[in-house]
Amino acid sequence: MRLNALAIFAVLYLVVLYAPIMLLPMFAFNSGTIIAFPLQGFTLDWFAALLDTPALHEATVNSLIIAVSTAIFSTILGLFAARAATRYGFPGKAGIVGFIMLPLVLPEVIVAISLLIVLMQLGLNSGTWSIIAGHTLICTPFAIAILQGSFSNMDKSLEEAAIDLGETPWSTFRLITLPLVSPGIIASLLICFTISLDEFIIAFFLSGNEPTLPVYLWGQLRFPARLPVVMALGTILVLLSVALLIIAETFRRRGLKRAGLKDTGGFL
């Protein structure tokens, strides 16, 4: 009885969560131009339409530049912060780490508005680089969280053992530290890339006349005729994000296994 209630709840929960997303591919492959049931027939036209929309290509290139830069910057910052937080003790450490992690729970709209105000005060134009800055701000906590896991899983005496056996600090980093945290680095790169690629609010506030993919998508919603195309683009984005997250999680688990550790509830 109790089990049944729980099962029903679980199924309902999953339906509410994923049914709307399942609508995306349904209408993306539907030949009717109006988003309504019943479905008309199968077509790839909407995906083809994506190919000859230059504005979309520009938005894609923009998004990729931003996502790749964000992933790299956040992961590098995360590496330093995570290494410092797990290896050294310093005064005010807990407070500093707490503040670095804060953007994780700060409403993005607040971050976006603050950044916009700062840019305006400085008399600077918003644009791609300001979105990169904003995205790095919100992605760095994720990078730290992932990399902190990698570093704290790593026995401190491994590095000392390498030095004891004649290696320099740099060759120790290369031969021991990097291989052991590299799954974490890859996971961090992929997750930051995905977050940046999907992020809308900051990009919307700061993109000016160089929209990112989500901002372009939003703009297209005004044209009912373009809706099926939007559905096709949305389908691709969802699939890409899911694929990237799965790859990231795979790397994170491989890292644990390599360090000979059990999974203690993942980051995802």
Partner: protein
């Protein structure tokens, strides 16, 4: 014997502060070439700190560390003639057993085949000849320990430092590895400095032991001296079990110390039986449980040195029985251990008992 060996490690007034915390309070010791030397003490007394200072992982605040006659001030760990077996073993998890063992040879001028031979020999030495290709994370505790040993010894260090290397193993494996470590040390002839909080382990394995409390060496001696002639009550309590009986020092004449021991009677001691010094007046006499002997019906003590009391506790171990016996006229019971033998009855709780004692087994703490 060990005093005659030329020193390989010389510690002079070594002090270490962590902020305000005084972790090492002036450590002075010579450790001989080829010696099996142990640092023994309770957790937190500074053993690891001293070992890491010798390895170069901690800078010392004051004093001097000489390795093979050279001052180690400012010398990085990778430039010191020491290698370390870490408490966690620190086996590189992303490498095979052979890669771990050969890691230290990376920068050596040896050819590939020479390196392979050296790794093979090192693995053979620790009994892992067939395990070279095994992934490091697929090893048991005892095997990891051996890999760590092989990896450190392949560089033929002048001094091998071991930080509680056996504490992660179960009792049986620990005893096996104790014997193997002793054999290995004799075989390679390298100086071993072992950190342990286990007095039995230190007694079994070492040529000499430095007993440490709160950043200081309380006594430095060979295992037998440490056990038979501890120089303070604290050392005596830390090494094995010892009874302490109230006593009075009555005088010292012609190299003999006369004491009156409560519950036992008068005794004459040699100066060596008071390694911590003699002062007239109230003192304590230390006696190990095995140097008190239960007398059975018809037995008489040598020289009439006997005392009687009541059995307050009987703990039967099979080969041994431990008794707590309250001697007449004393406030606290003494512990006596007796080997169980055919025809020797185990006394029962509450029974009367007679004890023989030997003044030569006594230690005086003034």
């Amino acid at each position: 014997m060990s005093q005659t060996r030329p020193p390989i490690v010389t510690l002079t007034g070594v002090q270490k502060y962590y902020g305000d915390y005084h972790a090492l309070r002036g450590i002075t010791a010579n450790i001989g070439q080829g010696e099996f030397f142990s640092l023994l003490g309770p957790s937190g007394c500074g053993k690891t700190t001293l070992l890491r200072a010798i390895a170069g992982f901690e800078d010392i605040s004051e004093g001097q560390i000489l390795l093979d006659g050279k001052d180690m001030e400012g010398v990085a760990p990778n430039k010191r003639p020491t290698n370390m077996v870490f408490q966690s073993y620190a086996i590189f998890p992303h490498m095979s057993v052979a890669e771990n063992v050969g890691f230290g040879l990376r920068k050596s001028a040896m050819s590939v085949s020479e390196k392979r031979n050296a790794v093979g020999q090192a693995l053979e030495m620790v009994g892992l000849a067939k395990f070279g290709a095994r992934a490091a994370h697929a090893l048991s505790g005892g095997q990891r320990q051996r890999v760590a040993l092989a990896r450190a010894l392949i560089l033929k260090p002048k001094v091998l430092l071991l930080d509680e290397p056996l504490s992660a193993l179960d009792k049986k494996m620990r005893e096996v590895m104790q014997v193997e470590l002793i054999k290995l040390q004799r075989e390679v002839g390298i100086t071993f400095i072992l950190v342990t909080h286990d007095q039995e382990e230190a007694l079994v394995m070492s040529d000499r032991i430095a007993v440490m409390f709160e950043g200081e060496i309380a006594q430095l001696a060979d295992p037998e001296t440490l056990y038979r002639r501890p120089n303070s009550r604290r050392v005596a309590e830390f090494i094995g079990m010892m009874n302490f009986l109230p006593a009075t020092v009555q005088g010292e004449t012609a190299g003999r110390i006369s004491v009156e021991v409560q519950g036992l009677g008068p005794a004459e001691l040699e100066p060596a039986q008071a390694p911590g010094g003699v002062r007239a007046g109230a003192a304590e006499i230390g006696l190990r449980p095995e140097s008190l002997t239960l007398l059975y019906e018809g037995q008489a003590a040598e020289g009439g040195r006997e005392a009687s009391g009541t059995v307050r506790e009987v703990v039967y171990y099979g080969d041994m029985t431990y008794y707590d016996i309250l001697l007449d006229g004393t406030p606290a019971p003494v512990r006596v251990s007796m080997r169980n033998m055919p025809g020797r009855r185990v006394l029962e709780f509450g029974a009367r008992a007679r004890l023989a004692w030997d003044p030569r087994a006594m230690v005086l703490f003034s």
